[in-house]
């Protein structure tokens, strides 16, 4: 078994992993990236459409371009990227963390380090997660898998398509499938509003005349060997209208029903999860409950913009470097998700520093107000033109905002939206 040792190891070579590694390297620590795929870049390599990078590069790029531009920053650094290496097990109990990895070329690797940054991204929710009744025929794919098949492997999985769920990946795939000659017959969404961006509704559905059925539930997937159709039932006033159910013939179903952080390794290492983000619970340094184990990007909470992923990952890398130098937050407060806020990441703030928080709301609203209370007193209020669950909200809280929390026995920062 080959043995390797670094100051820090990053699991996952997507946008998050690369950005975190760059900070650790810049701070003078040796760093390896362990990536399961044959190339770096993560999910971005299959997202060939435009719209990435407005914040990071001030231009609109496709996913592969964004990934390459970040990857180019690794050149000339001391970062050691390993591709084709899957981390199978993590033991983070001691001062030195141990990762057991498998690689086609190196065999089994044992990698030790003082710091581990989790950057494994997320996985798609699948049919099992949402319990659609019916047969189990071939032709049912998650939208992200279909994206990979079409965009990288050049394999178009069907001709007549119905997409279940109106998340952005599903919408993007509606256009992509149309552009490779498929007929997309419908997008079916259980909620009364679409979960993807308006821009994508317009350019990926309206442009192709694809109907969007809101407040409709997929009640049956029909087909013996191959999908033959899906049965759709309208929901009115919270009740299913069975007599109005109808069937859309198709040979392919794509599911775009959400993403969940990749947690297998985290759980194995005793990392506590946050029930709202489904990813690790982290403190103001983006460190998990396991000392020396940090998290960023989609493994921490599901992001909609890679620009935010990179920003967050940079913070995680910089914090990990500070932690290696022995720095710790002086005093922290817990962040509580108040009315209409689903979660905030991280879940703790450093009272002596500028904190950046990402959060998601539960509501769709124009002219909303985001309010921050420390121990029940309002310390900050921010106006938002428009908010919706699919768009992450960023917030900065500095020492001035948080000064009343200093010295309080168990300070709580509550964020609410009205």
């Amino acid at each position: 078994m080959k043995e390797l040792n670094y100051d820090s190891v990053v699991i996952g070579g997507g946008a998050a992993g690369m950005a975190a590694a760059l900070e650790l390297d810049a701070a003078g620590f040796s760093c390896a990236i362990l990536e399961r795929e044959e190339s770096l870049g993560g999910i971005l390599t299959q997202c060939i459409h435009n719209g990435f990078g407005l914040i990071e590069f001030n231009e609109e790029l496709s996913g592969p371009e964004f990934a390459e531009k970040i990857e180019e920053r690794l050149a000339g650094t001391g970062i050691k990227p390993f591709t084709g290496v899957t981390v199978m097990e993590m033991d983070a109990s001691g001062e030195h963390k141990t990762l057991y990895c498998y690689s086609g070329t190196h065999g089994v690797l044992r990698v030790t380090s003082r710091v581990v940054v989790l950057a494994m991204g997320c996985r798609e929710r699948n049919r099992g997660n949402i319990r659609i009744p019916g047969d189990r025929p071939a032709g049912v794919y998650t939208a992200g898998l279909a994206q990979r098949l079409v965009n990288i492997e050049g394999f178009v999985p069907g001709k007549d398509v119905v997409i279940i769920g109106s998340g952005d990946i599903g919408l993007i795939m509606a256009r992509r499938m149309s552009w490779v000659g498929c007929k997309v017959h419908a997008v079916v969404e259980i909620l009364p509003y679409p979960s993807g961006l308006t821009r994508n509704i317009v350019q990926c559905l309206h442009d192709f005349g694809i109907p969007l059925y809101l407040s409709h539930l997929t009640t049956n997937i029909i087909g013996k060997d191959r999908v033959e159709g899906v049965e759709i039932t309208p929901i009115e006033n919270g009740a299913m209208q069975h007599e109005k159910a109808f069937t859309i013939p198709c040979d392919t179903v794509l599911l775009s029903v959400g993403l969940v952080p990749e947690n297998e390794l985290s759980k194995m290492a005793g990392v506590e999860l946050n029930a709202m983000t489904n990813g690790p619970a982290v403190d103001s340094m983006l460190m998990t409950n396991v000392p020396g184990v940090f998290a960023c990007g989609n493994v921490l909470h599901v992001h909609d913009l890679v620009d935010y992923v990179v920003e967050e990952a940079r913070r995680a890398g910089a914090h990990a470097a500070r932690w290696l130098k022995g720095e710790r937050p002086k005093a922290e407060a817990r962040v509580k998700a108040g009315p209409n806020v689903r979660y905030s990441a991280p879940g703790r703030v450093d009272l002596g520093a500028v904190n950046k928080l990402y959060m998601r709301t539960l509501i769709v609203k124009n002219d909303a107000t985001l309010e921050v209370k420390v121990n029940n007193r309002v310390v900050k209020s921010v106006k938002k033109n428009h908010i919706q669950p699919s768009e992450m909200i960023a917030l900065e809280l500095g020492p001035k905002d948080l000064e009343t929390a200093l010295g309080a026995p168990e300070p709580v920062v509550e964020i609410s939206i009205t």
């Binding site: 435009n50 965009n151 050049g154 961006l197 308006t198 509704i201 317009v202 442009d207 428009h386 768009e391």
Partner: protein, 138 residues
């Protein structure tokens, strides 16, 4: 009769009502800012889209142009792992009604690696001033 549009310039998503006036101009209501008027004019008079797609990769050195990935539906590539298609995009937004023509030109491409991100694969398509470039280095 008014035409209904959703402005996508910002996340607010104003619902616009647009009437075509006799002089060829548009009367826009429902917008919360001037960008709504600009959007309605572009979208109704000369709609444009950035096009992203993939091109077939041919085996290096193969004169006959053997397809590695082939057109959609082909087998996975060899030598490039599973990568059988080269991602490409237009360098600017392109007239919407001509997008199918541009796509057909992209699908007719046979690209031989090595190819670098930014390499121009189609220059100034039909005099539009829009190029098609590779978005990945293979």
């Amino acid at each position: 009769m008014s035409e209904e549009l959703i402005c996508i310039t910002c996340p607010l998503g104003c619902h616009l009502s647009v009437d075509r006036l006799g002089d060829g101009n548009l009367a826009v209501t429902g917008n919360r800012c001037p960008r709504g008027v600009k959007y309605a004019n572009e979208e109704l008079l000369s709609p444009k889209r950035v096009v992203s797609a993939t091109a077939a990769i041919v085996a290096p050195g193969s004169r006959a142009g053997t397809l590695i990935g082939g057109p959609p539906g082909g087998a996975p590539a060899h030598g490039l792992g599973d990568v059988a298609r080269l991602p490409v995009r237009s360098t600017a937004a392109f007239p919407k009604q001509d997008v199918p023509e541009l796509l057909a030109a992209i699908y007719a491409l046979r690209v031989e690696p090595p190819v670098k991100r930014g390499d121009v694969l189609i220059r100034d398509f039909k005099g539009s001033g829009v190029d098609v470039i590779a978005t990945r280095t293979l």
